[in-house]
Amino acid sequence: MTEYSLSHLKELEAEAIHIIREVAAEFENPVMLYSIGKDSSVMVRLAEKAFFPGKVPFPLMHIDSKWKFKEMVEFRDNYARENNWNLIVHYNKAAFEAGVGPFTHGSKVHTDVMKTQALLEGLSKYKFDAAFGGARRDEEKSRAKERIFSFRDKFHQWDPKNQRPELWDIYNARVHKGESIRVFPISNWTELDIWQYIRLEKIPIVPLYFAKERPIVNVDGNLIMVDDDRMPKEMADKAEMKMVRFRTLGCYPLTGAVESEADTIEKIVEEMMTVTVSERTTRVIDFDQDGSMEQKKREGYF
C-alpha cells in the first residue's frame, strides 16, 4: 500500500477546506451561518483550518429565533468571545416584539417568521452573496440531491428541478446581482463522521448533546424540556426529571429530547449506531406537512 493515502475524515476535511476557500476567493461578501449545533461547530473549525494562520475572512451569522435553549445562547456568546469571531446575531425584531412564539402561534408560523423570514432578512440586510450552511446529504432525502454550491434566485428560493450540474471539484460561483449561493461544505459527511471529527479534534459542543437529568414534559410523544417560564404553566407543571439528551438543537419548544444515558461522545456514537431512527425525527417542525423539508428549502430555509 502506498503511503500517500488519506483517511476518509482527512479526505472529507480537505474537500471542505477546498470548498470554503473557493467561496472566499469567488464571492465578495460571504457569510457562514452558525446554528450553534454540532455540524456548525465542525464547519467553523474547518473554516479556521482553511485560513490558518490567518483569520476567517468572513463573519458568522446566527439567526436567533429567540426561542433557542438558554445553554445554546450562552455557549455561542462565550465561544465567539474566546475565539474572537466576527459574529452577527440577527433576529426578526418586529415579530419578536409582537410576541411571536411557538406556544402562541404554532410551530409553522413561528418557524416561518422567526427562522425563515429572519434568515432572509439577515441575508438581505448585509447583502451577502454566499452563505455557508452545515447541511449534510445523509440527513434527509431532499438533501441527498442538493448541490454543494446551491443556487438561490433573487427571492432566495431553491429550484430543485433546475440545479446547475456540478462535476469534479469545479464549482460554478457566477451569480447575477441579487442572486446568491448557499454552500454546504460538509455535504458528504455522515452523522458518524461529524461525531468522530468532534472526538478527534476535541471540538467543544453545547452540553445539551450529552445526557443529563433535565425537566421534561411529554407533549404528544415529544419530550420537551422546560427551558424558561414562557412555557404555559399548565404544560410546565407536568414536567418531571428525566435522563435525556438532544440529538439536534433548535427552538426548545420544538426540539424533542431522547431518553438516553449517553454522556460521552463514545456513548453517543454507540447509541447512534444501535438506534435506527434518523436524527431529524426529533425535530417537531418536520411533521407539519408532507415533504416539509423540501418545501421549506424552496422557500429559503436551510
Binding site: Y4, A25, A50, L167, N188, M273
Partner: protein
C-alpha cells in the same frame, strides 16, 4: 460555559473509570476500539449504473442495509445477533429503502444524482446513484466525475445490451479506472456458469476498445443476497470475491497522479504584511519542502519554504490535501496561477482539443463566448470547431454544427488567455473544465481535455516563450551594412509609427488617408496599415474576439517595427480598444518611436458617422463592437488627442508635431 468539561469528554476516558455500571463499561471499550478503527478507514466513491429493472436499487439496498447490520454485529457487546433473522425465505424489497428516486419519478421531479453513504469495518463508501436512460446521460456523467469505481449492472437473462455499452462508454469517458460488471439475477438462470462466461466474453470484447485499466466480473443475485455481502454458496464455480468484499479491498490509492506536481493557486492568504501564503488543494504530484518551483504564467522560480496546515507544518503534501505554502522569495502570485516543478511543466496553451458533454436544456450556440472554469482559473473561451459528435449508444461519429442536451463530442477550443493543463487521461484535476453561459450563468457543458492541437491545425498561433527561445537559438542575426544615420539622410525622416486609435466611425481612416497623402506630397516615405489591408490577407483567419484581435495587432506591430527599422514612417489605423493591447504593441515597436494619436469621438458621433454598423449591432447581428459590448479604454497619455470635428486642422496639427519633434522636418 464549561469548556473544560467538553474537552474532557472528547478525550478517551480511562478504562473502567466512568460511571454507568458494569454493563456499560465493556460496551464502552468496544465502541472506542470501533472508533479508533473507523478513524483510519479510507473512502471509496462509487457509481452505480443500470436501471431499476436490472435490480440496481435492490443491490444498493442490500449494500446499505446489510453493511449496517454488519457493523452493528461488530459491536460484540451489543448482542444484536437476534437481528440476524435469516432473509433466506422471505424477500424484503430493499428497493423501498431508497424511496428518493422513486418518489421523484412519481412527482415528475427531475431525476437527479442522489448520494448515499454507508460504511463497513474496512471502508467508507459514497454511492452516486444515477438513473440509467439516455435522457439522464448528464446525470450519470455528473456522478461519474468524482467516482473511483463504477458498478455496471447487467440482467443475466438479457446479457450485454445497448444500455450496458452506453454506461461503459461514459465511465471510460470520465476516466474511471475500475469497472465491476455485476451480472445480476443469476438465480433466474440457475446460477449457470456458462451464461456468466458468455456475458463476460461479450463484454470483454467491447470494453477493450475503451480505455478502462481494471475490469472485474462478479455474478450476483441481489434479490436473494447471493454473493453481495457474503461469498456465494450457490455458485461453487466462482472463486472470486463477493461484491462487498471486492469493494472493500479494491486498491484505489495509486489511482491518483503522484508524478506531475500541480498546485493551482486557489487563494492568496495575506493575514498581515509579513505573511504571504498560497492555498490550494494539491491537484497532482507531491509538493515538497525545499524543492525549486516555477510559477506559471510568470515562469519565476523560487523554493518551497513551508507547507502549512492548522495541524502543523508538513514536509510534503499530496493530492487531495488542502494546504498553504510559502516561498523563499517574494513573487507576485495570484489565484489561477499554477505552481509546478521547472522540469515538469503542464501544457501552456490557448488552443486545445477536448471531449465535451452538453449539459444544458438550451442547445449549444457556437457563436457565444463562454466562460471556462479550469484549475481555479476563469477566462473566456470560444468553440472553434466541432470535430464530431459521438452517439453514446452506437459510438458512431457524425459531423454536426452544434450539440443538444446530453450530446457528446470532440471539439477544438480557444481561450482568451493561455491555460495550464494536462490531458485528462493523465490528470483528472488539470484536464477537466466546465463551461458557463455568460448570460444565464448556468453550467452548460463540461469537458475532458484531450491535448493541445497539432501545430499545423492551429487556427492562430501565439508563440510561447519556450518555443520562441528555441527558435531564436536557430536564427542568426545578419549584419546590416546600412546604418540608421544613412537611412535618415536618405529619407530625411525618422522611422516612426503613428498609431491612430479610436472607435468605429470616429474618422480614424479618413485622417489616416489624408495624412498619408500629405506626407507623400511633402516627400516622406510612408506606408499605411489598416484593418482592411491586413485582415484581407495576413490575418484572414482571425475574427473579432478579444483573443484574435490581440493576435491581429501583434502581427501589425511587427510589420510596423520592420518598416520603422528600415527608416520608413508607418500610419497604423486600428481601434486597439484597451491598454493591454496597446502596451503589447508599444513593446514590440519600441517606446521612443511609437506615437499614439487618439481620435476622441463620442459614441453618438460615431453612430451618426457609421449608422449601418451600429444598427447591425442593435439587431444583434454583430458582437464584440468596441464602445458597445466590448469595453474601449480611452488612452491615458496619447501623444496627440484629436477631435473629429476639427477635420480641417487635424492633419496640420500632426504635420507640425512631426516637424517639431524632428521626425519629419519639412524643408
Amino acid at each position: 460555559m464549561n469548556n473544560d468539561n467538553q474537552k474532557n469528554t472528547a478525550k478517551l476516558p480511562p478504562i473502567g473509570g466512568i460511571e454507568g455500571g458494569q454493563k456499560n463499561k465493556s460496551d464502552f471499550l468496544d465502541i472506542n476500539a470501533y472508533l479508533n478503527q473507523d478513524e483510519n478507514k479510507d473512502l471509496l466513491r462509487l457509481l452505480t449504473a443500470g436501471s431499476v429493472d436490472d435490480g440496481k436499487s435492490t443491490l444498493i439496498g442490500r449494500l446499505l442495509f446489510d453493511s449496517k447490520k454488519i457493523y452493528e454485529d461488530q459491536l460484540s457487546a451489543l448482542e444484536r445477533d437476534s437481528k440476524r433473522v435469516g432473509h433466506a425465505g422471505e424477500e424484503i424489497d430493499y428497493a423501498l429503502l431508497l424511496d428518493g428516486l422513486k418518489a421523484e419519478r412519481e412527482q415528475g421531479i427531475t431525476i437527479d444524482v442522489a448520494y448515499r453513504y454507508f460504511s463497513t469495518n474496512k471502508r467508507k463508501f459514497i454511492i452516486a446513484d444515477t438513473p440509467g436512460h439516455t435522457q439522464y446521460t448528464r446525470n450519470m456523467v455528473t456522478g461519474a466525475s468524482t467516482a473511483n469505481l463504477a458498478i455496471i449492472l447487467i440482467d443475466a437473462t438479457k446479457g450485454v445490451i445497448t444500455q450496458t455499452r452506453r454506461h461503459t462508454f461514459l465511465v471510460s469517458l470520465l476516466g474511471i479506472k475500475h469497472v465491476v460488471l455485476a451480472v445480476n439475477k443469476m438465480d433466474l438462470v440457475n446460477y449457470d456458469q456458462k451464461v456468466f462466461d458468455e456475458i463476460c466474453a461479450e463484454y470483454k470484447a467491447f470494453i477493450t476498445q475503451l480505455d478502462v485499466p481494471d475490469v472485474n466480473f462478479i455474478p450476483i443475485a441481489a434479490l436473494k443476497g447471493e454473493n453481495v455481502v457474503e461469498p456465494t454458496t450457490l455458485m461453487p464455480w466462482y472463486h472470486g470475491k463477493s461484491m462487498l468484499e471486492f469493494l472493500e479491498s479494491v486498491h484505489i490509492s495509486s489511482d491518483r497522479n503522484f508524478d506531475d506536481m500541480r498546485f493551482p493557486v486557489q487563494y492568496v492568504l495575506r493575514p498581515d504584511l509579513d505573511f504571504r501564503g498560497f492555498s490550494a488543494r494539491v491537484a497532482s504530484g507531491i509538493i515538497r519542502k525545499g524543492e525549486e518551483i516555477m510559477v506559471l504564467p510568470s515562469r519565476k522560480r523560487s523554493r518551497i519554504k513551508e507547507i502549512i496546515t492548522y495541524d502543523g507544518n508538513l514536509d510534503e503534501a499530496f493530492p487531495p490535501q488542502s494546504v498553504t505554502i510559502t516561498l523563499e522569495d517574494e513573487i507576485d502570485i495570484s489565484r489561477g496561477d499554477m505552481i509546478v516543478y521547472p522540469d515538469n511543466l503542464p501544457r501552456i496553451e490557448r488552443h486545445f482539443e477536448s471531449m465535451l458533454v452538453w449539459m444544458d436544456e438550451k442547445p449549444m450556440d457556437p457563436s457565444v463566448q463562454f466562460f471556462i472554469k479550469h484549475a481555479n482559473n476563469t477566462t473566456r473561451v470560444r468553440i472553434d470547431k466541432i470535430q464530431y459528435r459521438i452517439d453514446v449508444n452506437s459510438l458512431q461519429k457524425s459531423s454536426v454544427d452544434h450539440f443538444e442536451l446530453n450530446e457528446i463530442g470532440r471539439v477544438v477550443l480557444t481561450t482568451n488567455k493561455a491555460i495550464f493543463f494536462d490531458p485528462y487521461k493523465k490528470n483528472r484535476s488539470t484536464g477537466s473544465f466546465i463551461l458557463i453561459d455568460p448570460m444565464t450563468n448556468n453550467t452548460v457543458a463540461v469537458g475532458m481535455i484531450i491535448d493541445k492541437l497539432n501545430a499545423e491545425d492551429l487556427p492562430s498561433r501565439i508563440v510561447d516563450e519556450k518555443t520562441l527561445e528555441a527558435t531564436k537559438a536557430l536564427i542568426h542575426k545578419g549584419e546590416c551594412l546600412i546604418t540608421d544615420t544613412q537611412r535618415q539622410k536618405r529619407y530625411n525622416q525618422q522611422g516612426t509609427t503613428l498609431w491612430i486609435t479610436g472607435l468605429h466611425g470616429s474618422g480614424k481612416n479618413e485622417l489616416a488617408f489624408t495624412l498619408e497623402k500629405e506626407l507623400f506630397d511633402q516627400g516622406a516615405t510612408v506606408v499605411l496599415l489598416d484593418g482592411s489591408s491586413i485582415r484581407s490577407g495576413l490575418s484572414n483567419e482571425l475574427d473579432f474576439s478579444p483573443a484574435d484581435r490581440t493576435e491581429h495587432l501583434r502581427r501589425v506591430a511587427h510589420i510596423s517595427k520592420i518598416l520603422n527599422d528600415q527608416g520608413i514612417i508607418t500610419i497604423c489605423s486600428f481601434i486597439s480598444p484597451d491598454e493591454s493591447i496597446r502596451r503589447q504593441v508599444v513593446q514590440i515597436i519600441g517606446e521612443n518611436r511609437f506615437k499614439l494619436i487618439h481620435m476622441d469621438a463620442s459614441l453618438d458621433f460615431c453612430k451618426k458617422n457609421k449608422p449601418e454598423l451600429y444598427e447591425k449591432f442593435e439587431q444583434s447581428l454583430i458582437e464584440n463592437l468596441p464602445g458597445a459590448d466590448l469595453h474601449f479604454t480611452i488612452p491615458e497619455n496619447p501623444t496627440l488627442m484629436l477631435k473629429p470635428e476639427n477635420r480641417a486642422q487635424n492633419t496640420r496639427i500632426i504635420m507640425e508635431y512631426l516637424a517639431d519633434s524632428k521626425i519629419f522636418p519639412i524643408v
